[in-house]
C-alpha cells in the first residue's frame, strides 16, 4: 500500500496504470496519477477546518494571491453533496467524530479526481451504522468508475463490499479469488498458511499458586468485562487483532489508564492500582508495546536498567554509582546485551538490544508479574530466541508472564494458556497443545459467534 501511494519506494516490480507503466516517486506524484489513499491512522490536522484539510496545499486563490475562502468552502460542500453526506466544511476537525473524520479523509482523497482509491482498515474505528454509510459511498464510487482497494482484517466486510479478494501473508501473495468462491474458513486457512520452522524454547514448568486475578475490568468503549487469572510459573498468552483491546488491558492493569470498574487481586489480596508506581510496588512489570515508551533513549544503558528500581541504588540519600554499575553489568551479562559500555546511550543500540535493556529493567526491579506487550516486535530472529529463553528462565523462578503477541506461532508455542480478545472482550480461552491457529484466528476475527 505504501509503495503504491508513494510513501515507500519499491525495490523492483512494475506498476501499470491504465496500460501505462509508471514509476511512483513520492506521494505527490501518486496524487497526480490519480491514486488516492486513506490511511489507517488519520492524517488530518485537528486545528484546521474540514475544507482546509481537504484542500491542504491546494487552496483556491483569488487573482491577488490570497485564498479564495468562499470557493474553498463551496467546493468542499459540493464534494460532500455528491455522496449525500452532510459534513459542515467550516467545522474544525477536532470537533468531529471518528466516522466523520474518516469521511473527510475520503473526501480529501477524492478531491483530486482519483482513479484508484486505497483504503486501509477504514472501518477499524467505525460503528456498524457508520460502516454501512461508508460502504454506500464506496459503491457509489464504483459506479463512477473508481477502482477501490480495500484492506481489512474483518472478514465479513470482504463479502459485503468486495468483488475480488487477495490474501497476503508475511509480505507474500497467497492468492486472489473472487468473493463468490470463498467463505470465512477458506480465508482463514489462506491467512494461516503452513507452519514455519522456527525454534521456540519452551520448558515445562509446574504452576504454583495464583499470582494475579482480575475480575470484570471495564473501560467504557475500550474494555468489556475482562476477567483472568495468572499463576506462578505460567505464561498466559493474549492474542487478538490490532485494536482488540490487549494493550488497553495491559495499560489499565498497570495503572497507566483508569479503569471504570473491576477488581484486581494479587496473591489473593485485593489491591488498587492507580499509578505505575503502585503497580511496581506490587511486583508488576510492563514491557511496553512500543520500545519508545519504555526507554529513555538519551540515557545510558545502566541508567535505563535501574530506572524502575532506583531504590536499590540509593545509599544514604545519594545515587551509589558502584552499586548501579554492578547491577547493570550483571544484567548486561545475563541478557548478553551488546553495548560498547555501561555508559552507551540506549538510542544507539540495535532494536534487539534495546528490547533486552527494557527487559533487564523489569528483571532488575524483581517483578513477579510481568506483562510483555509484543516482546518480539521489530527484533531479529536471534534476539527473539534469546527473549524466549529468558522468559523460560523467569517462569522457572516463579514469575508469571502475560504475553501479548500478534505472532500466532509464538503464542501457540510459548503460552500455557491463550486468551483471545476481540473488540475489547475476551472471546475464548484456549489450552496449550490443543489450540490451533485456526481457533485463535476464528475467535479473534469474528468473536466466536
Amino acid at each position: 500500500m505504501k509503495i503504491f501511494s508513494g510513501t515507500y519506494m519499491k525495490d523492483s516490480g512494475r506498476i501499470i496504470i491504465q496500460g501505462q507503466e509508471v514509476e511512483i516517486e513520492d506521494p505527490h506524484h501518486a496524487k497526480d496519477l490519480g491514486i488516492g489513499m486513506v490511511y489507517q491512522e488519520l492524517s488530518l490536522i485537528n486545528s484546521l477546518s474540514v475544507a482546509e484539510n481537504i484542500f491542504l496545499g491546494r487552496f483556491p486563490r483569488k487573482r491577488s494571491g490570497t485564498i479564495h475562502w468562499s470557493r474553498l468552502y463551496r467546493e468542499a460542500y459540493n464534494l460532500f453533496d455528491d455522496f449525500n453526506v452532510h459534513v459542515n466544511p467550516r467545522q474544525r476537525v477536532s470537533t468531529l467524530g471518528m466516522a466523520e473524520r474518516q469521511l473527510v479523509e475520503i473526501a480529501k482523497a477524492l478531491s483530486i479526481n482519483v482513479r484508484v482509491l486505497l483504503l486501509d482498515e477504514p472501518t477499524s474505528a467505525l460503528s456498524n451504522e457508520e460502516r454501512n454509510r461508508l460502504f454506500e459511498i464506496i459503491r457509489h464510487l464504483q459506479k463512477r468508475g473508481v477502482g477501490v482497494v480495500y484492506v481489512s482484517h474483518r472478514l465479513d466486510e470482504v463479502q459485503q463490499i468486495g468483488q475480488k479478494v487477495t490474501v497476503l501473508r508475511d509480505g507474500k501473495k497467497v492468492g486472489t479469488l473472487s468473493v463468490e468462491e470463498v467463505d470465512e474458513d477458506t480465508l482463514i486457512k489462506m491467512m494461516v498458511g503452513r507452519e514455519l520452522q522456527e525454534q521456540f524454547p519452551k520448558e515445562e514448568v509446574n504452576l504454583g499458586h495464583e499470582l494475579l486475578r482480575v475480575e470484570n475490568i471495564n473501560i467504557v468503549g475500550k474494555l468489556d468485562d475482562i476477567s483472568l487469572t495468572l499463576h506462578e510459573g505460567e505464561v498466559l498468552g493474549i492474542s487478538g487483532l490490532m485494536g482488540a483491546g490487549r494493550t488497553e488491558f495491559a495499560r489499565a492493569l498497570f495503572g497507566i489508564d483508569k479503569i471504570d470498574s473491576g477488581r484486581v487481586f494479587i496473591e489473593g489480596n485485593e489491591v488498587s492500582i492507580s499509578s505505575p508506581w503502585d503497580a511496581i510496588e506490587l511486583g508488576l512489570g510492563y514491557l511496553t508495546e512500543n520500545r519508545r515508551n519504555g526507554l529513555v533513549p538519551r540515557l545510558s544503558v545502566s541508567a535505563n536498567i535501574t530506572l524502575a528500581s532506583l531504590g536499590q541504588v540509593r545509599r544514604a540519600g545519594f545515587l551509589h554509582h558502584r552499586t548501579e554499575r554492578n547491577l547493570a553489568q550483571k544484567y548486561i551479562k545475563q541478557l548478553t546485551i551488546h553495548t560498547s559500555g555501561l555508559g552507551q546511550k540506549v538510542e544507539f543500540l540495535s532494536g534487539g538490544n534495546q528490547q533486552k535493556v527494557a527487559l533487564a529493567k523489569w528483571i532488575c526491579s524483581r517483578s513477579k508479574i510481568m506483562i510483555f506487550d509484543e516482546p518480539t516486535r521489530g527484533i531479529d530472529v536471534g534476539s527473539k530466541t534469546e527473549v524466549f529463553k529468558l522468559m523460560s528462565e523467569l517462569v522457572k523462578r516463579g514469575v508469571g508472564i502475560i504475553m501479548i503477541s500478534s505472532e500466532l506461532q509464538e503464542v501457540l508455542a510459548i503460552a500455557d494458556r491463550i486468551i483471545v480478545m476481540c473488540r475489547g472482550a475476551i472471546t475464548a480461552e484456549l489450552k496449550r497443545g490443543t489450540a490451533t491457529r485456526e481457533d485463535i484466528l476464528k475467535y479473534a476475527v469474528i468473536g466466536g459467534e
Binding site: 500500500m1 505504501k2 510513501t7 490511511y39 489507517q40 491512522e41 486501509d120 482498515e121 498497570f254 497507566i256 499509578s275 505505575p276 508506581w277 503497580a279 511496581i280 510496588e281 510492563y286 511496553t288 519508545r292 515508551n293 519504555g294 526507554l295 529513555v296 533513549p297 538519551r298 540515557l299 545510558s300 545502566s302 541508567a303 530506572l307 524502575a308 532506583l310 531504590g311 541504588v313 540509593r314 540519600g317 545519594f318 545515587l319 554509582h321 548501579e324 554499575r325 560498547s340 559500555g341 555501561l342 555508559g343 552507551q344 546511550k345 538510542e347 544507539f348 529493567k361 526491579s365
Partner: protein, 360 residues
Amino acid sequence: MQRLKKERKAPYEKPSIGIGMQKGFGLQNIGWATLLRGGPIIALLLLVVYFSLASPHFATISNLKNIGEQNAYLIILAVGQTMVIIGAGIDLSVGAVMAVSASVMAVLATQNVTILGMSVGPVHASVAMIIGLLVGALAGAVNGIVIAKGRIPDFVATLGMMEAARGVALLVTGGLPIPSHFTATELKGYLPEAIIWTGGKYFLGIPTGPLIALVVVVIGWLILSQTILGRSMYAVGGNKEASRVSGLKVDRIKISIYIIMGMMGAVAGIVLTGRMNSANALMATGVELKCIAAVVIGGTNLFGGEGTVVGSLIGAVIMGVLGNGLNILNVSAFWQRVVIGLVIMAVVVFDQWRRRRFGT
C-alpha cells in the same frame, strides 16, 4: 501498518567514552575529555586568548574578580535553569522571582511592616534572607504545581509567574528602591552588613558573590549527578511516558525542579542585592533569557534529557567574558548585543554539528 521510523543513526558504532553522561554520572563528567569535546570550552578559551592579546587590562586579577562579581547571579540562575531544561521545561519567571524574593528580604530587613495587624521588623538579616529563600521556593512551587497538576505548558505557566511575581515585588516595595531614605527606619537607609556581604565582600581573598555561585554549582552538580532526584530529572526530560511507566512520580519530580529553581532564583536575588546595596522591584529584568542562553551555550539539550551543570557554568562565563571584554575594547553597547547574539548562535550551531558528527 508499519510506521516510518525516524531514528537517529550513529555514524560510528562506538562513540568514545567520556562525553557528557556517557560514562554514567560520576566524576568523569567534569573530566577534561568531556570539556575539550564541547564547543563551549573552546569558545571560552578563544575568547580569553583574544581579549588578553587585544587589551592589557583584560587578564588582570582585578578584572577577573570583576567578571566573577558581575556574573555570579547569572551562574546561580543558570544552574537552576539547567535542571529545569534537563527536565524538558523552561522557566521564564526567574528574573521576577529574583526581584520579588530580594524585595521581600530587603523590606523585612530595613522596614517596620504591618502583617495581619501585627507590627513586624525590621527583622534580623538572617531571618530576612531565609524568608527571601522561602518566597523563591513558594514561587517555584506554584510554577511546578500549575505545570504538573494543571497540565499547562511550562512556557505559559512561568510566563504568568513572570508577570505576577513582578507585580508582587512592586506591591511589596511600593515601587521604591529598598532601602530608601523615605521608608528605612532604624537602619537609616542601609541594608544589614550580612546581606551586603553576600554580594560585595571578600572571603579569604575571594569575592563572596562568585564564591556563593561556586557553592551553588557544586550543589547543582551533586543533585544532578549524585542523587536519585537528579537521575529522575534526566529520565523525565528524556522520556516522560517511559519514566511514568517505570514508576517515577513525574509530577513530584517536576515540582521539585521548580522549587529548586525558585530557591536558586532567591539566592541570585540576594547576591545581586548585596552587590548593588539595594533591592528594587524592577531589578534583573531580562535575565531569564540570558540564563537560558548560558544553559544552551553550555550544551544542554533544549528538548530535555541531556545537559550538565558544568556546561552551563561555562556558558554563563562565556556570556560574562564577552560583555566584559567588549567593554574593555570600547565596543559600543549596541554592537555588544549584536556580537553576543551572534556568538550564541555560532556556539549552538557548532555544538549541534558536533553532536551529529560524533553522534553523542
